[in-house]
């Protein structure tokens, strides 16, 4: 999970050093234009959904970065922009230090591969496992000729612990369980020989008992193959378990980021605190009432200032006026919250929850 005990960086199978930045996004923004339904007597209005704004993400070789948040927070939009499935409205993506343009998608996809959420939808039911895996091998010229391709397919299957590989290669998607399908989807992503794996909720559709198996497999790919992995999830406990660094998003913006244990054990942003309080936790002494009420805001007209302020029990006047800056609260640990600003530090212990509308 970390570097070798004596601290020397490990060179991974991909030829990169652990911790080397592979894929970087700066100020990633996506605004979706929508047409709202005209009310009687009104003109049709153009509206903009602020799905994702000014998101910075850094993916390093041999590390897992988690993006955590509730549905609609923009985490999948961010992942899709990184995957170049949708074009960012603003912002830059750099791969191995070079800015990425919309062209040369194939070169990009060779290095950046995606694992989708639903393994029941992401495999084509009319194609065998062998077909699914041999396509990327041929497209990216990783193997030529029947014998070479077949050998590569079997090698991929054993890398994702589907054994015996020869038997699995000739199965069809309907013959596989959810966990096995997701392993095939991971093997398909590996077939291109990528440096980056973007995994959007890779285990949320799987049975509880097999989720950890798939996460541990991704962990092995990180440790042994040195892949940079983006893990998009709504489950903060699994992000704590699996990810090295964590980015928490709320209503299209990053509210907190840092080493994952640091973020979950010392959450600095009230939203992260809410997320942790709301997560099921058998070790909690008794059921506790959570303070922040209400639900996530509209992304067409997001709240001014900090987007969490209407629900925040600690909200101050400045929170609704100005966007909070990123403030360092620990090593590599950043929170976008006015409470952490030196000018407002004293306000931390005076929640005003009682005054807020439910």
């Amino acid at each position: 999970m970390t570097d070798t005990p004596d601290g020397t960086p490990v060179v991974s199978a991909s030829g990169r050093r652990r911790g080397e930045v592979v894929l970087e996004a700066r100020g990633l923004t996506k605004l979706f234009r929508v047409r709202s339904r005209p009310q009687r007597g009104q003109r049709r209005v153009r509206a903009v959904v602020h799905a994702c704004e000014d998101v910075d993400l850094t993916l390093e070789a041999g590390r897992v970065t988690a993006v955590v948040g509730e549905s609609g927070c923009g985490k999948t939009t961010a992942a899709r922009m990184l995957a170049q499935l949708i074009k960012p409205t603003r912002g830059t993506i750099t791969l191995d230090g070079k800015p990425v343009s919309g062209r040369k998608l194939r070169t990009y996809r060779r290095k950046v591969q995606i694992v989708f959420q639903d393994p029941f939808a992401s495999l084509n039911p009319v194609h065998s496992v062998r077909y699914h895996l041999s396509r990327p091998l041929r497209i990216y010229h990783r193997a030529r000729g029947k014998a070479e391709v077949n050998a590569a397919v079997e090698e991929l299957l054993s890398r994702v612990s589907l054994s015996p590989p020869r038997q699995f290669a000739d199965k069809w998607p309907h013959e596989l369980s959810g966990g096995q399908r997701q392993r095939v989807a991971i093997a398909r992503a590996l077939a291109a020989g990528p440096a980056v794996l973007l995994a959007d909720e890779p285990v949320s559709m799987l049975d509880v008992s097999i989720r950890l198996g798939v996460l541990n497999l991704l962990g092995e790919l990180r440790d042994i193959d040195g892949l940079a992995i983006l893990y998009v999830t709504h489950d903060i406990a699994s992000a704590r378990y699996f990810a090295d660094t964590m980015t928490v998003m709320y209503a299209g913006r990053v509210v907190e980021s840092g080493p994952s244990l640091e973020v979950t054990d010392n959450p600095a942003h009230p939203y992260t605190q809410l997320l942790l309080e709301a997560a099921p936790d058998p070790e909690r002494p008794g059921p506790q009432a959570i303070e922040a009420r209400g639900s996530a805001p509209s992304l067409i007209a997001p709240p001014s200032g900090c987007r969490f302020h209407p629900r925040c029990p600690y909200a101050m006047p400045i929170c609704s006026e100005q966007l909070p800056p990123d403030i360092s609260v620990g090593e590599g640990h950043v929170a976008a919250c006015w409470l952490r600003h030196p000018d407002y530090k004293d306000a931390v212990d005076t929640p005003t929850a009682g005054n807020l509308p439910a």
């Binding site: 966990g179 509880v208 704590r240 936790d281």
Partner: protein, 364 residues
């Protein structure tokens, strides 16, 4: 107040029937929150629908009793739901036993307002009430679940997922039921909304005193909210225990492994393994204990004989039941032999019946 005994449910008939629930025993006390946990396909929803006779084709109840005591004052007045006449059943459902389904989005009628849907229920079960009374009750119900009564005129598409689920809970509570069965009521919701709904349910339970049968795959949520937990695997209940005891000292290898599948929010990060293999094919269950192929402690006996749900070897009086040969063979690994935690459970676990109840026979 609700006692499920030896319930068996099949899908299909004859040799190709799939045994979805096999010989399930479950007791729900007044005011208790009973959690039913298991993976998908373990039969937890089928058990609940079987017990209320709401199974769809080709589901068939092939045996067992579901005894219901409608009144605390009259302990001799028992209804066997599986034998009840259609008329008794019609009155019993909703008034005594109400259901909340997983996808509130699909359970509400999109072309009717919230008010219309709430008052319809009231009109059907309380025909002598007036329109005004029903409207008032509908407003009262919405308030009960934390929604502003202004929302009565809203249509389902104008509500968020959490609000729709609250409306469903309000509908379930419309007739002051004694038992509320909730099938994965929060699975489709975000964690914060889930937490709010769960808090609301517990608050209403304390306030109104109904019992809850809460079905979910999220064991960590259950441990926090349920009084008692029953764990199902491949159609059978493998362990039933007070919630905290199950968490501190699981007695069945599957319970222990399932608990070990939920990463913790605290402490050191440790490598967790989950459960190797995948859930069994219900059409083709292994002989003996269905969990044996995935169980790391399996004995030769486990693949041959079915373990009965019985008191565990350690502290047999601890209000819990477990179906595992390790207990009888006294070969308990350390992991399953933790001492019972302190504290009395709020509700006693049911004791095994001294005799097998006679099957009511026949298929319904």
């Amino acid at each position: 107040m609700l006692d499920i005994r030896g319930l068996c449910v099949d899908y299909g008939r004859g040799g190709r029937a799939v045994h979805a629930v096999i010989d399930a025993d479950l007791t729900l006390h007044r005011g208790e929150v009973l959690g039913l946990a298991g993976e998908s396909g373990s039969g937890k929803s089928t058990l609940a629908y079987g017990a209320t006779r709401l199974l769809r084709q080709p589901g068939i109840i092939t045996g067992g009793n579901v005894l219901f005591w409608p009144s605390i004052q009259r302990p001799d007045h028992v209804i066997d739901i599986l034998d009840a006449s259609p008329e008794t059943l019609r009155r019993l459902r909703w008034r005594d036993v109400a259901l909340v389904f997983q996808s509130a989005m699909n359970s509400l009628n999109p072309v009717l307002s919230v008010q219309a849907q709430l008052t319809d229920t009231l009109a059907a079960h309380l025909p002598e009430s007036t329109r005004e009374e029903r409207r008032e009750r509908a407003a009262e119900l919405l308030e009960l679940v934390g929604i502003n009564p202004d929302r009565l005129r809203s249509f389902p598409h104008e509500l968020s997922g959490g609000m729709k689920q609250r409306v469903m809970i309000a509908m379930a509570l419309a007739l002051d039921p004694q038992v509320v069965i909730m099938d994965e009521p929060t699975t489709a919701l975000d964690v914060v909304t889930q937490r709010q709904i769960v808090e609301q349910v517990i608050k209403l339970r304390d306030q109104l005193g109904f019992s809850v049968l809460f079905i979910t795959h999220d064991l960590s949520l259950l441990i926090e909210m349920a009084d008692t937990i029953a764990i199902m695997y491949a159609g059978r209940i493998v362990e039933s225990s007070p919630a905290q005891r199950l968490f501190r000292a699981p007695r069945h290898p599957y319970s222990a492994a399932l608990l070990d599948s939920f990463p913790s929010l605290h402490g050191q990060r440790t490598v967790m393994t989950g459960i190797p293999g995948s859930p069994p094919d219900m059409r083709n269950l292994p002989a003996g204990c269905a969990f044996a192929p995935r169980c790391r402690y399996a004995l030769p006996r486990c693949t041959e004989q079915l373990p009965p749900l019985a008191r565990p070897a350690i502290e047999p009086d601890a209000h819990r039941l477990v179906a595992c040969w390790l207990h009888e063979e006294h070969k308990l690994p350390e992991e399953l032999a933790a001492p019972e935690p302190d504290g009395q459970p709020r509700f006693p676990a049911r004791t095994p019946l001294p005799f097998a109840p006679e099957s009511s026979g026949g298929s319904r």
